[in-house]
Symmetry: C2
């Protein structure tokens, strides 16, 4: 069982352990692989409207985290953007799909009408498949829009879902 | 004849005259119609990597302005984003297309490999047509992603062009 709840400051060490290797790999998120812990805090905690953690219902270990924020200002602020990261050791347990489901409910609760992922790296096929399973469509594909550290310039998708409000 | 050159501080009054009515209308850019002059300066001048003005070759009147900036950080920073605004009195004189052409050359000069417009309001048909004429494709359409002050939620396009480098 997974408990998904708002991030509190004392979660940061656990969250940083989860997001650091993903940011360092720089093959799914656009942040620089040299990002500092302070910069990561700004990106994942300060800039978003809210951040959540997914906690193991048994031992309270943090297994994943996501943020939610408006994707644009004012006239575009009814569309939200989210980012999700699952602890490497917790992969394959449905944490990402449960966080995605939670984020959609949270988005509706906050008054958002749609959710947009701006840069889903096409080589990250597991993510693309999962978001499609969660009801997102590939709105469009941006040729060579992501610089993959091993593969060079690869395509990225804009994925979008209108929420049931 | 049009001269397109980098913005200097003394251009701001003229640039503000041009961008204010467009921001106030809030039917093409997502900024709040209540945006202040200081906020507009931040958005149009401070946040972008560079801002340009298009000047009438005869009387040096400023007829338009555009900005250029990376659309994403680090692994997505080789794709730029631009925004263009033409003075109401100068419409129909090719100012937007000349600024778009200039911005593509400037983008290549700065090392960008592609240009992306994130939120081209579908009801702004003149702009959609112009960007298509300038070689941009509609990468995807975001259902109801823009709140038009008169028409309500309308679609917006992500438009994209790979630059010849």
């Amino acid at each position: 069982m997974l408990t998904i709840r708002p991030f509190v400051e004392s979660d940061w060490n656990a969250v940083w352990q989860i997001v650091e290797p993903v940011f360092r790999a720089a093959d799914t998120y656009p942040y620089p692989p040299t990002i500092t812990e302070d910069e990561a805090f700004d990106v994942w905690i300060t800039a978003p409207k809210m951040t959540f953690v997914a906690e193991d219902g048994g031992n309270a270990a943090i297994l994943g985290t996501y943020y939610i924020k408006p994707n644009q200002v004012s006239q575009g602020s009814h569309v939200c953007n989210c980012g999700y990261i699952v602890a490497d050791a917790a992969r394959g347990r449905g944490v990402a799909s449960q966080m995605c489901e939670h984020s959609q409910q949270e988005a509706v609760r906050q008054g958002f009408r749609a959710m947009q992922y701006n840069l889903v790296v096409a080589t990250n096929k597991g993510a693309v498949r999962l978001w499609q399973k969660m009801g997102f469509q590939i709105a469009g594909t941006l040729a060579g829009a992501f610089k993959h550290p091993a593969l060079g310039y690869v395509d990225a998708h804009v994925m979008y879902k209108t929420l049931e409000t």
